[in-house]
């Protein structure tokens, strides 16, 4: 109960601090890292939601790419307003997820994972080869404009100009908003009967089906919601980086998203958040030894899989249990218990 109250007080405080970041610092480099952390979290919590239904996607970045291309092409080729194109990027990614999910989510385990990998490659090849004229092929699309300025009251929110002297301030706010919405939605899923049903399907799908649960509907729902947010994150990413190519979001990124979730811990929503934070900040902290980064990342993944099945978030609990075990042993040895 105390813990719940603490979270209730700490969470708004944390959000306020996060909202103050552009005022605290105008350093574009740190702001950039924070933007990338926010977007990583959006991908990671989505991937984790798919994992709670018992399915592993190793092509999650592909849905980011779908969102990125949708948003960019709508803005640049069809003159859409960015603020309409961005939600459409999410919707298109979700629609693709439904179309792909219905036939493939029936397949469990490694087979589904391999299919998502194939799908990711397929989408990349389609963007490069088949629609080269539209997407710029391997060269990609350069000069993607910033999100259109927003007029509120007499004020103009201009993404190119920045805010509070922080040139990337508005991008940061957009990424933060996207992250908070994604986390909140996933949290609602987790806490509700729907999230419970996801986890039930992962544990015993046949039993779930035999008490009347339409398991395909639930798996597709989790997949589509996760991919919707991946599409949004991809759409925002391309307008922030102002450049998009078939290698902007690849299999490599998909693997990182899995790493965020697994190392952080898939049991709770805080796991992938901590994982995304760690793995996005880590390469920056290791800038002097960049060549070691993949090794360190891979080692962390292996260590987590081997020794910490609950991920980093389970660490405090494990330490506590360990201490209690030691204390209990001592108590027995001293004849107290």
């Amino acid at each position: 109960m105390n813990k719940a109250i603490a979270i209730r007080l700490l969470l708004p405080a944390l959000i306020v601090v996060l909202a103050l970041v552009p005022i605290i610092t105008d350093d574009p480099y740190y702001t950039h890292i924070l933007i990338m952390i926010c977007l990583s979290i959006v991908f990671a919590v989505g991937l984790r939601m798919i994992l709670t239904t018992g399915q592993l996607s190793i092509g999650h970045a592909a849905f980011g790419a779908i969102g990125a291309y949708t948003c960019t092409l709508l803005v640049m080729k069809a003159d859409f307003n960015f603020w309409l194109a961005l939600p459409l990027a999410g919707v298109v990614a979700a629609i693709v997820a439904v179309l792909v999910g219905y036939p493939t989510l029936r397949i469990k385990g490694a087979y589904f994972a391999i299919l998502t990998f194939a799908l990711g490659e397929l989408i990349r090849l389609v963007f490069v080869a088949n629609w080269g004229g539209l997407t710029g092929g391997n060269v990609g699309i350069m000069g993607i404009p910033a999100p259109s300025a927003i007029h509120i009251g007499g004020r103009v929110l201009d993404f190119d100009a920045g805010v509070f002297g922080n040139i990337r301030g508005y991008y940061y706010y957009l990424a933060l908003l996207l992250m908070l919405i994604a986390v909140w939605v996933m949290h609602r899923f987790d806490r509700s009967r729907v999230g419970m049903t996801f986890r039930a399907i992962a544990q015993a799908d046949l039993l779930a089906e035999c008490v009347g649960i339409n398991i395909m509907r639930y798996k597709v729902l989790a997949f589509a919601v996760a991919c919707f947010f991946a599409g949004l994150a991809g759409g925002m990413l391309s307008s922030y980086i102002h450049y998009l190519s078939p290698v902007s979001l690849t299999f490599h990124d998909s693997i990182y998203f899995i790493m965020f979730a697994v190392v952080g811990g898939v049991g709770t929503i805080s796991g992938p958040i901590i994982g995304a934070l760690l793995f996005t900040a880590l390469p920056e902290a290791l800038r002097g030894a960049k060549q070691w980064e993949p090794i360190i990342a891979a080692s962390l993944l292996l260590l987590a899989v081997l020794f910490l099945p609950g991920g980093l978030v389970s660490l405090p609990q494990r330490i506590k249990a360990r201490f209690e075990a030691i204390r209990g042993k001592e108590a027995i040895e001293h004849g107290v218990a």
Binding site: L206, C210, G212
Partner: protein
């Protein structure tokens, strides 16, 4: 009219007829015991009735409706619910959560309502917890509600399996080997529980059971399968005296030995 009416039902796996041209009727309110030697097709029959397998041919009418070839989730929603031979449970959930999942077909909670957490859904959730506790009480495992399903002893796990099925509000309950492999005490406990839920809920039950004494003790009427065919039908008394049944079992035993 019978609650469940199966006509000329067959299920073939390649060249093997696991169930063959089976006719079976189950009257409302009865406990039908389904017995037969290993490989007689009892579990296959359960899988076909509950929609896990599609029948090769034949018809299944439940409660006046043709349910042949429907998906398991649809069949469960219509009130035909099964348990599993192995202790298939939602292992990482508490006992209470296991039963709450069982309420799915008639929980009356829309996905959006659940996500937003409207007052109506919260009320409904609370009511479901109440109902779940009643079911656990009936099954005699209410005191274990906060335990993880995986940590229960075998007998209690079987009871939980039945409790999950009960939550789905069945008219017809299919129990797959509810007491097989249990100690004498556990068997007595589960059998008493099955009788109790039949009395209190007015359920119709089909039970597949290897423990012959338990099957005879539970059933009002019995059907004997061998090689996917019905070889006898009648009261437990009649079945125990039927020469063909004795032959099937002794033959099987002689063969096994």
């Amino acid at each position: 009219m019978a609650l469940l009416e199966i006509t000329k039902l067959s299920k073939h796996f390649g060249g093997l007829a696991a169930v063959s041209e089976l006719d079976l009727q189950v009257e409302e309110g009865e406990i039908l015991g389904l017995i037969g030697p290993n490989g007689a097709g009892k579990t296959t029959l359960f899988n076909v009735i509950s929609g896990v397998y599609r029948p090769t041919s034949g018809k299944i009418i439940f409660n006046g409706e043709d349910i042949t070839g429907l998906k398991p989730s649809m069949i469960a929603k219509k009130g035909l619910v099964r348990t599993f031979q192995a202790t298939t449970l939602f292992d990482e959930f508490t006992v209470l959560a296991n039963v709450l999942i069982g309420f799915h077909p008639h929980a009356g909670i829309a996905i959006w309502g659940a996500l937003v957490g409207t007052p109506a859904t919260r009320q409904r959730e609370a009511a479901l917890v109440q109902q779940a506790m009643e079911i656990l009480d009936l099954m005699g495992i209410a005191h274990l509600k906060d335990e993880l399903a995986t940590s229960l002893p075998h007998g209690h796990q079987r009871c939980l399996g039945i409790a999950i099925a009960m939550a789905a509000n069945p008219k017809l309950l299919l129990l797959d080997e509810p007491v097989t492999g249990m100690s004498r005490e556990e068997t007595a406990m589960v059998m008493a529980t099955i009788r109790k839920i039949r009395e209190q809920k007015g359920l119709t039950i089909i039970v597949v059971e290897h423990n012959m004494r338990a099957a005879m003790g539970l059933s009002d009427r019995m059907v004997v399968l061998n090689y996917g065919r019905k070889i006898a039908e009648g009261s437990p008394q009649e079945i125990s005296e039927n020469p063909e049944v004795i032959e099937a079992y002794l033959g099987a035993e002689r063969y096994a030995a």
